[in-house]
Symmetry: C2
Subunit: 361 residues, 2 copies
């Protein structure tokens, strides 16, 4: 009999603990821990034996105990900004879904899991989960949650250039000014004389920078700005704003819409006013949705590359968590991609039915 029984009952409440494995394998808990984690100096025979016993007992290490001991939970937060009364809303469904997917994959590949945590969550939820770090999407000026996390020494990486002096560990964003200027130039090259903008009322970085770039461009080329704002989180307001934009006396002959649904909204509005796209109206919108490839006509879209952003954000965050970073804040710019389709070209591209290179085989 053992001189001091290590645990009062064999497996005291269902699940087997490390002590049970140690007892069953006839070794110490140190040996079990080392064998299972690939540490220590153990012969392969012992390692195999311990693993086998652990498997037989269905042993699962307690994540809580491990986290408590090591200080690492393997969890990273994904914080989304919130609007209105619903705990949170995706302004851009496809963008968020793609970004979250890429972020999850990237995190998983490095052994981390993602926790969805709206910024305005009840405070107790935030403090009830042990996070190794957090991704924040479009943090507002002086986000109290972010400040709090930073004060606790938890790495925070932002999707979207942080406003103000938010002290994030790193951030990833597109060059929104360049993207907007590129689109405006593209539309102008296609023959647009007066380019309108469909933009939002909120003050997030994306909306602010994009609108500013538009105004700047107008000033440079000497065009009067023609734009309509609407609350981007309200799905109905977009259709109304699109209508308003095309109902103006100084109706634009080209429009860029900053938000995902703007394309279909503008198309519907154009139909109501008898405007043909692209003949009477050139259209571009910022979207990750594939529906714009099959609308009538297909609509040119700007992709912000959410997959690349999601991946980059997580990589930077985990690097910071694991101390692989330089220690200095990192700023990473992801290029956008303009997917040119019929809606922004005066001369529709030749169909592939009759290739100009010669008779088909």
């Amino acid at each position: 009999m053992s001189r001091a029984e290590p645990s009062r009952r064999g497996s005291r409440h269902g699940r087997a603990g490390i002590r049970d494995v140690a007892a069953a394998a006839g070794v110490s808990i140190t040996t079990v821990s080392d064998a299972l984690n690939g540490k220590g100096r153990l012969p392969d025979a012992t390692r195999r034996h311990v693993r086998e016993v652990a498997d037989r007992l269905g042993y699962r290490p307690s994540a809580a105990a491990r986290t408590l001991r090591t200080g690492k939970s393997g969890l990273i937060g994904l914080t989304v900004t919130t609007y209105g009364d619903e705990p949170f809303t995706f302004t851009e469904f496809a963008y968020f879904a793609e970004m979250a997917r890429a972020a999850t994959s990237a995190a998983l590949a490095r052994g981390y899991a993602l926790v969805i945590l709206p910024a305005t969550s009840r405070h107790d939820v935030w403090s009830n989960v042990a996070l190794d770090g957090t991704v924040v999407i479009d943090p507002s000026d002086h986000d109290p949650v972010v400040s709090d996390l930073v004060r606790q020494g938890i790495p925070v990486v932002s999707d979207g250039r942080p406003a103000g002096t938010l002290p994030v560990t790193a951030w990833v964003d597109n060059d929104h000014e360049a993207a907007v200027l590129g689109i405006l130039d593209h539309l102008a090259a296609a023959g647009a004389r007066r380019i309108g903008l469909l933009t939002g009322t909120s003050t997030d970085t994306y909306t602010r920078l994009s609108t500013h770039a538009y105004l700047h461009w107008c000033e440079r080329v000497g065009q009067d700005p023609v734009y309509e704002k609407y609350p981007a989180h309200d799905p109905c307001a977009g259709a109304v704003a699109a209508d308003r934009l095309l109902a103006r006396p100084d109706r634009p002959d080209a429009v860029y819409g900053l938000f995902d649904p703007n394309g279909t909204d503008l198309l519907a509005a154009a139909r109501r006013y008898g405007l043909r796209v692209p003949d009477d109206l050139l259209l571009v919108c910022c979207s990750e949705s594939t529906v714009y490839a099959t609308t009538e006509p297909p609509i040119t879209t700007l992709s912000l590359k959410p997959r690349r952003i999601g991946t980059a954000v997580v990589q930077l965050l985990i690097d910071a968590i694991e101390g692989l970073d330089s220690g200095r804040p990192v700023e990473q710019v992801i290029p956008t991609e303009l997917i040119v389709r019929t809606s922004s070209q005066r001369r529709p591209p030749r169909t592939t039915v009759s290739p100009p290179r010669g008779p088909a085989v």
Copy 2:
């Protein structure tokens, strides 16, 4: 001086612990714990004092320690099925996004947070996070992860009726058979003579039940089935399948598409074949996307009500976690909603411009 200093160093590694608060407030850690958690028998003065000191020190209880002690982590998993090589894909962007959003909100409202965990994650990630329960979306026949969780006594609630004898705690689903039959009847009532189906090759419950209902309906009304299958996770295959369906010699005069992008794909294919919608072809597809309200023509869609499903799933799961459930498996059916638009009506609805009730005011 104190007779036995309670902790070797004041705050030994940055963050303040409960001991530091106790020392600073001049009480025991028991009192601190009770004061902060609203337990025990303490006068309000003490309670306030402790809370104040805790705030001043920026005390945040360790989630890991609490979890270890109480056995509850406040975390629930959201498991999504995976396809192909990417760690995971959303077959239905909008559905998943809505469902996840509702689930997150519902969880948060009850003090829980959601962890995204693809079913095929590296095993170490699964065992590295302490879950109080899990939501699984469309579990496959004998999902090893689900079995494992159930064996550990962790509640599992499924979105989608589980196939086989998967022993889930509860499940929530639509009545897919009834939904399909309703749509087919709707199309037949609108004058359809031969209704086609665009379906998937995968064996998940949704695809299986829907297809089966279609075949059953065909048999009942004496119509030859006209359907095309394609791998639903491949975004390009849908367009090809839509084309194939309309290219058949026994071309249907109405089509129901089981997946979100089918509407635009079918619309594009119809245009290629010179078919007018709804005059030559009636169209319905299952989608949560709002784009179908503004396509030309607007397309009738079936909504599976992902918000209600996400909420219901989480409520059932948390009830089970907190022991508020009956203990018996619960099966909850959420009704679907058919949003009738132009694409499935031979006579387009009268516009609101000239109401039939008489002269406008």
